[in-house]
Amino acid sequence: MRDSNFEEAKSRYESVVAKTLQRNAERRSEFTTGGGIPLERLYDPESLGDQGYTDHIGFPGEYPFTRGVQPTMYRGRFWTMRQYAGFATAEESNARYRYLLERGTTGLSVAFDLPTQIGYDTDHHMAAGECGKVGVAIDSLADMEVLFDKIPLDKVSTSMTINAPAAVLLAMYICVGEKQGVQASQLSGTIQNDILKEYIARGTYIFPPHPSMRLITDIFDFCGREVPKWNTISISGYHIREAGSTATQEVAFTLADGIAYAEAARRKGLDPDQFGERLSFFFNAHNDFLEEVAKYRAARRLWARIMKDRFGATNPKAQMLRFHTQTAGCTLTAQQPENNIIRVTLQALAAVLGGTQSLHTNSMDEALALPNEKSVEIALRTQQVIAYESGVTNTVDPLGGSYVIEKLTDEIEAGAAEYIQKIDDMGGMLAAIEKGYPQKQIQDAAYDYQKSIESNNTVVVGVNKFQSREADTSNRKLLRVDASVEERQVEKLKKLRQERDNVAVNERLENIRQGARDEKVNLMPLILDAVRAYATEGEICGVLREEFGEYVENIVL
């Protein structure tokens, strides 16, 4: 592709650079991406080597999907603007969802409070003080009915950030659908259902790995038959990155998790061409713009190769890595919080240029507390400005072919493949987690990053440079969830336990217990039955805790 004058022009450029450097040194002796990948001064056609375009990069909508999973990308339809939300009780969260839907959000994303995420009812002693704090409190189907009141489940797609007890919350969602007259086969949405990253980075696990993997494949199997439009897992790099990993590690550990799930599904006898279609991913959008754009492209290409070569998938939809993105919470600063709007804008733009299928943009006040309505609106508007005003959506993969983007895509892919090889050598992701390998890598990266900020090698505007004095954030209007929320929720729960048919509840819980003891039984229908009888989440998880035991984290510091 090079023209005849290339060599001459390049050496001319290099001698000019040499002279320039004599006069003015560059800002630093070496430049790297946020994740430590060395950056050259300049990338040019020579940087890319001789890989052919078609096999290596290819066209959008075609293997290996480097340039995106849709042939027309955002010229056809924008990404789903999906704002993660939920707090206090079902009533308050229902109101927030309707507020967001009115303002043009196109999909819901439910945040649950910690007791719900860890399978405790609000009145459990471990749940004290946590009710409704980081998300909505859901104890039973009764709460779920309120949460989706007047929201037609056949019209919205709903993503639920729920992992260890994903089966229970999905069952509740299906039951709400039933009550609205919407069949399970019409429901669309996602459950996160990704337990491995809980062990690695996020911490909201309940059961040990083996029974957890069984629950996950039970869901794959059940949904394949009954809820075919549902994304049964969202394999998440987001939290791995929030815990401090580099971009390359984020890709590597997420895809290695994906491999573990695909292997578990295959062992259960499921077909990669089928379950492969229902796997979705979830990535972080961090600060280093170029590296982030390249990261999504690398992940897409690497996953396509894994599904094709390792699992023999021939169905293009099973080879495609479709993903949700959230801007990086850990980059938000409590100092000068308005700056966060700008950070979020750049991060969101990187996700769009990386070809995301859906996007959550963080609110400026999230380093301080849960976001208030005003800041949630600005966050959503940020997406809309990118979609409707910036013009980047009017041509497919506008950065494709950029020398630096293609080069970084190659490097992240190669770096991630190397980590995956190491994990394969250890015997797969479960074995690696037991050794503490990904945990240690992530902690090392997090600590290095902290040291780099403290030595001013990394600049965080408003924190270690350009600080301003009027850092008074105390008068800012922050969303508060007070203690009365917990009291109300406990009252509701008490009432529910009095009014429901407790004989039916106990019988169905006992069925779950028996089912848990037999690996051949799919637990999903049993959980659905218990949920229909208004068994609480804590009761169902309680039975499973007794049968499966609880996970204890593996600390490698």
């Binding site: 040990p208 050794k435 035991g549 204890v552 984290e553 510091l557």
Partner: protein
């Protein structure tokens, strides 16, 4: 010995957790307690003297083996096992100090935290603080403190760096060596050390592939011990689930019975006390000699530099 007992000792002997914890700190700090600035090394000696008459009752069990062998999880299950029989349990978990900064992250008790709500359990994490051999310098005293304060069983989890775990033998009545499949422990290479210290072999994670191989390798090692009075049994456990822990408990009891009945236990106790006295001697001697050296250092050094004195004669001048 006569006269009033130190209030700290008195409270500790009455089971006050804070006082027990303070005593252990004083032992670890070699005399400098957190609330006793300016006190000398004599303090630990005085306190240990007061405690000694109350010691000798506890059953001290060492748990040693490579990092990743599941020692903490196993210790957690042993606490449960002994609590079920009504014994009060003390736990000392040793982790390495950083050789560069002297700091340490002590995370062993993470796997035992469920027992913090049980007043019959006292757990303490110790950093090695530069000592080699799998235990910290204060471990021996800490064991005696827990013994004196009424803990029937004291479990010591060693650092587990592999070869240099001999120290635990000089503290524990019964030593469990924990092995696991797949860690690449070369049992042949460890043979000498293991034969020395193991009273019981525990093959943990025995549900994993390769467990049988580890058992066979240990059996081969044990062949060398034929004819000994006590043949270390091999217990298979899955600490994560508690599988095999009751059987391990029975092995432990069998060893305890054997040690208490025959001469072996008494010999071991005699050796242990002898090494304890030797340790104190060493510590005291080197402390006093080095104090002297510090005070006369520049003067003596000058003489040696000027060739007025040779290093040997210099050292002899300082020795008692």
């Amino acid at each position: 010995m006569e006269g009033s007992v130190h209030p700290l000792t008195e409270k500790a002997l009455n089971g006050d957790a804070r006082s027990i914890a303070r005593l252990i700190s004083i032992a670890e700090n070699r005399g400098v307690g957190p609330t006793s600035q300016g006190k000398t090394e004599g303090e630990i000696a005085a306190l240990m003297k007061e405690l000694y008459p109350h010691t000798g009752k506890a059953w001290v069990i060492g748990v040693t083996g490579s990092p990743g062998a599941g020692k903490s999880t196993l210790t957690d299950k042993l606490i449960e096992y002994f609590r079920a029989t009504g014994s009060k349990v003390g736990v000392l978990a040793v982790d390495p100090s950083s050789p560069y900064t002297g700091g340490a992250i002590l995370a062993d008790r993470l796997r035992m935290q469920r027992h913090t709500d049980d007043s019959g359990v006292f757990m303490r994490s110790l950093a090695t603080r530069g000592s080699l051999g799998g235990l910290s310098r204060g471990t021996r005293e800490a064991t005696s403190i827990l013994d004196a304060c009424g803990f029937d069983v004291v479990l010591i989890e060693t650092v587990g760096v592999g070869q240099s775990e001999i120290d635990v033998m000089r503290v524990a009545d019964t030593v469990c060596v924990v092995l696991v499949p797949g860690l690449g422990d070369d049992i042949q290479a460890m043979k000498a050390g293991i034969m020395e210290i193991a009273d019981i072999f525990v093959i943990n994670k025995s549900d994993k592939p390769g467990a049988d191989r580890v058992v066979n390798e240990v059996r081969a090692v044990l062949d060398f011990l034929k004819g000994r009075e006590w043949m270390p049994p091999i217990a298979r456990t899955v600490a994560e689930t508690g599988e095999g822990v009751p059987e391990l408990g029975e092995n432990l009891r069998a060893h305890r019975e054997y040690a208490q009945k025959g001469e072996a236990g008494k010999t071991r106790e005699r050796d242990r006390l002898s090494s304890k006295i030797e340790d104190i001697l060493l510590e005291r001697l080197s402390a006093s000699v080095f104090r002297l050296w510090e005070s006369r250092r520049s003067e003596i050094l000058q003489d040696v530099l000027d060739r007025k004195l040779d290093p040997y004669s210099a050292a002899e001048m300082l020795l008692p």
